[in-house]
Amino acid sequence: MAFRILLVDDETGILNAWTRALQSSGYIVKTAQTAKAAIELCEEYAFDVVVLDYIMPTMKGLELLTRIRKIQPLIRSILVSGKLDTGYDDATLATELRESVEADDYLHKPVSNQKLRESIQSLLADSSSTEWKSLASKTLKSKAVTIEKAKAATKRLDTIRKKR
């Protein structure tokens, strides 16, 4: 089964480049240039991973991620940031973000294709654990995910995350 990736960035150039990179590795890729388009896509399709920009013109990446999680609680997320990160090396920041914010991974722009793929692969490997899979299948079976269900799922997800 091919994994589905949602790419969110306000620049088509970046979306196109990443699409080429990920499609050649066998992923199914959808792209959204705005937060609204991303939410609409999430309502229509189920995704395994969402890759989103930390700074978007209308809605911050983190806010969008929260909204997407309400629709697809089991989605894995990668925040890509081009924002300033002085005084931190990437690893420190990634850890901090992972702890304080609900992103599963953090990458620093400019990110190489290889690094992007590695990040996606490791998240998918993580989600192929039995625990995650059963949770995922339960949630994904019901096509209309209500906010209450999403909340419950997020809560369960949190427990898993804390164990990790």
Binding site: T86, V111, S112
Partner: protein
């Protein structure tokens, strides 16, 4: 008679009166001033101007009464009724005073005030007084000739003139203007300004009477200025020599000269006396007595209009310098006294609003502008330049702070803006490489190009990091860093540039050099010093080996960074001021200049020193470690 021998004569329309009187004089106040001057010319010691404004009950009238010599019937014919005639200064050589009137038309000014005038006049030896009654309306006709208008006169009792002595009374009726309080106040000011405050006429007094208005009524005295901060007085002696004195006690300035040069033909201005009074701060009403700042010209004790408010170009100069003139017009007063007897050439156009442009006027203007320049130079050196210097330094510091703040705010957006395209380059370059691999293309040249793209993408990224570090970094916080690695990073940042210019950048750094230090300071100072070294070497001609070395050591508690180049050395004139602001005009690079480096380093208790000779310069920075265990 042959036609050649026939003669023609000019004749004037009665309307001429209107042109000379009502239309030539711009305001009623000025008309009163003209009539007061006539009284002075008639030898009066006292002139009383009574204004009874028009009200519902009173028809309104203006009476100007003087105790001058008055006119006999023949004088009336010869002078008063003779338009354009005035007694010239040489004709009155023996008279008590120099007449102010020069056109012989001042009397027509009465037309400006009202439709009708009666003139009652008596000489000292006459038994009776004369009265002429003029209705100016009769002169309205353009078709009638000037001399066709009949003006009736008769004799009246001598008692009309006070004390049966001599004098003239002008009584203007059917007034044209409404004399409200504002107009009356304007008149009082005009009369005050008529008199030279420095050399007022001693034998002449003007009194204004407005029935029912006590504040306006009384003897007119010139408005006196308070003691200015800077006082320049000057006079032109016989032979055109200029005597000048400057006095400014608070500024400890005192200068006197008996022979100040001038490029003007001062022989035309002998007898001129003048004062320029300058206030360092805008003078208040009590200092100016309400008079408007300007340079005024007085002739024989009476004010004359040169040509416009700004006849010496003070305001114009300020405007041209975008408001940054040394002499501020609103702080300057001037009182220039000339005499009609000596400067006969300085005379008015008929409207009395400007002086006729001729050699004398040009000499006067040139001379006065020189005196203004003299004042200006003193203000410049003593007041404005030190003040500007001070504010310039403050401004520069403010600007520098604002620049950092702006950069800090911008850099967040800027980094994002730069990293977006960088991300595209990064991804697409990877895509090309992967695609080529899939197609089975293996080519060394392509691989080299790809490596070059990779390293340059990283380089841009490091630069973005650095902008961030410099702009948003705190200049106060102290961090624990590995200084050797950090210094190496800074060198790496500028190494591509060095390579491109054929400069060898050598870093002599130990492997381990922990430091508790302000990162911002080290970054700023290192980038600046290396950049300066590059600049010094870049401009150097010739093929010699160019080298920059960066050495990091620790002396006691101090971290020592030395940046040396083998360039041409620092010029002597730059050397003295090297840590001062604006020492160099150089811009660009990472540079915030040595001025800021010095400030930063000093604020952390360190120092920057340098040694320079032909063949090389070494900057040495010492920064104490902030660890307080």
């Amino acid at each position: 008679m042959s036609p050649e021998n026939q003669k023609l004569t000019f004749e004037a329309s009665a309307y001429l009166q209107r042109l000379l009187g009502r239309e030539l004089i711009s305001t009623e106040e000025l008309a009163v001033v003209e009539l007061v001057k006539n009284a002075y010319d008639s030898g009066a010691e006292r002139v009383v101007v009574t204004i009874q404004p028009q009200t519902d009950r009173e028809p309104g009238e203006i009476i100007i009464r003087d105790d001058g010599q008055g006119m006999s019937l023949s004088a009336l014919r010869r002078i008063f009724m003779f338009a354009g005639y005035s007694e010239r200064p040489d004709e009155v050589e023996n008279a008590r005073r120099i007449p102010t009137g020069e056109k012989g038309i001042g009397r027509f000014a009465a037309d400006k005030l009202g439709h009708e005038i009666s003139v009652t006049t008596k000489t000292a030896d006459a038994q009776q007084a004369l009265r002429v009654e003029i209705n100016w309306d009769l002169f309205e006709s353009r078709k009638k000739k000037f001399n066709e208008i009949r003006v009736p006169y008769r004799t009246v009792g001598a008692s009309e003139i006070r004390g049966n002595k001599s004098g003239t009374i002008l009584r203007v009726t059917r007034l044209r203007a409404r004399w409200d309080r504002r107009k009356l106040e304007a008149l009082r000011k005009s009369l005050q300004d008529l008199l030279d405050p420095r050399n007022p006429p001693t034998d002449f007094q003007i009194e204004l009477q407005v029935p029912g208005a006590v504040a306006l009524t009384g003897v007119i005295s010139p408005r006196q200025l308070a003691e200015p901060d800077i006082n320049v007085t000057f006079s032109i002696q016989r032979g055109g020599k200029v005597r000048r004195a400057l006095l400014a006690p608070d500024l400890k300035l005192k200068e006197n000269t008996d022979n100040a040069g001038s490029s003007a033909d001062t022989s035309l201005l002998v007898g001129l006396r003048g004062q320029l009074a300058y206030f360092l701060k805008k003078p208040n009403k009590s200092q100016t007595a309400g008079s408007v700042p300007s340079v005024r010209l007085y002739r024989d004790g009476f004010r004359v209009e040169p040509f416009g408010q700004d006849w010496l170009g003070v305001a114009e100069k300020k405007a041209r310098r975008a408001g940054h003139a040394h002499v501020v017009p609103s702080h300057l007063f001037g009182f220039i006294s000339i005499s009609r007897k000596r400067q006969e050439e300085l005379r008015h156009t008929t409207s009395r609003e400007t002086l006729i442009d001729n050699e004398s006027l040009q000499a006067l203007v040139t001379f006065l502008r020189e005196q203004l320049s003299y004042l200006e130079n003193h203000i410049k050196t003593v007041v404005t330049e030190p003040r500007w210097k001070e504010s310039k330094v403050r401004q520069a510091a403010d600007f520098e702070r604002a620049r950092f703040q702006t950069l800090g705010i911008m850099s967040v957006g800027l980094a994002h803006e730069l990293r977006q395209p960088l991300q595209m380059i990064r991804s697409e370059a990877d895509n090309i490489r992967e695609r080529l691999e899939n197609l089975g293309v293996k080519d060394n040249q392509i691989r080299e190009s790809q490596q070059s793209i990779d390293s340059n993408v990283e380089r841009i990224d490091r630069n973005i990091q650095n902008i961030a570090r410099i702009s948003s970094g705190s200049t106060e916080n102290v961090e624990q860093i590995e200084l050797a690695n950090f210094a190496r990073e800074q060198c790496d940042l500028l190494r591509p540039r060095c390579n491109a210019l054929g400069i060898a950048l050598k870093a002599k750094l130990s492997n381990k050099h922990p430091a508790q230090i302000n990162v911002m300071t080290v970054t700023t100072v290192m980038l600046n010093l290396i950049q300066n070294a590059i600049d010094a070497l870049e401009t150097q001609e010739g093929n010699h080996h160019k080298e920059i070395s960066v050495v990091l050591t620790k002396v006691k508690n101090n971290h020592v960074i030395e940046v040396s180049d083998n360039g041409p050395g620092i010029d002597d004139d730059v050397r003295e001021n090297i840590f001062r602001q604006f020492a160099s005009k150089k811009t660009g690079g990472w540079g915030v200049g040595l001025y800021n480096c010095n400030l930063l380093v000093k604020s952390h208790g360190g120092s920057i020193t340098f040694k320079s000779k032909r063949g090389g310069t070494t900057f040495r920075v010492e920064l104490p470690d902030s660890y307080r265990g």
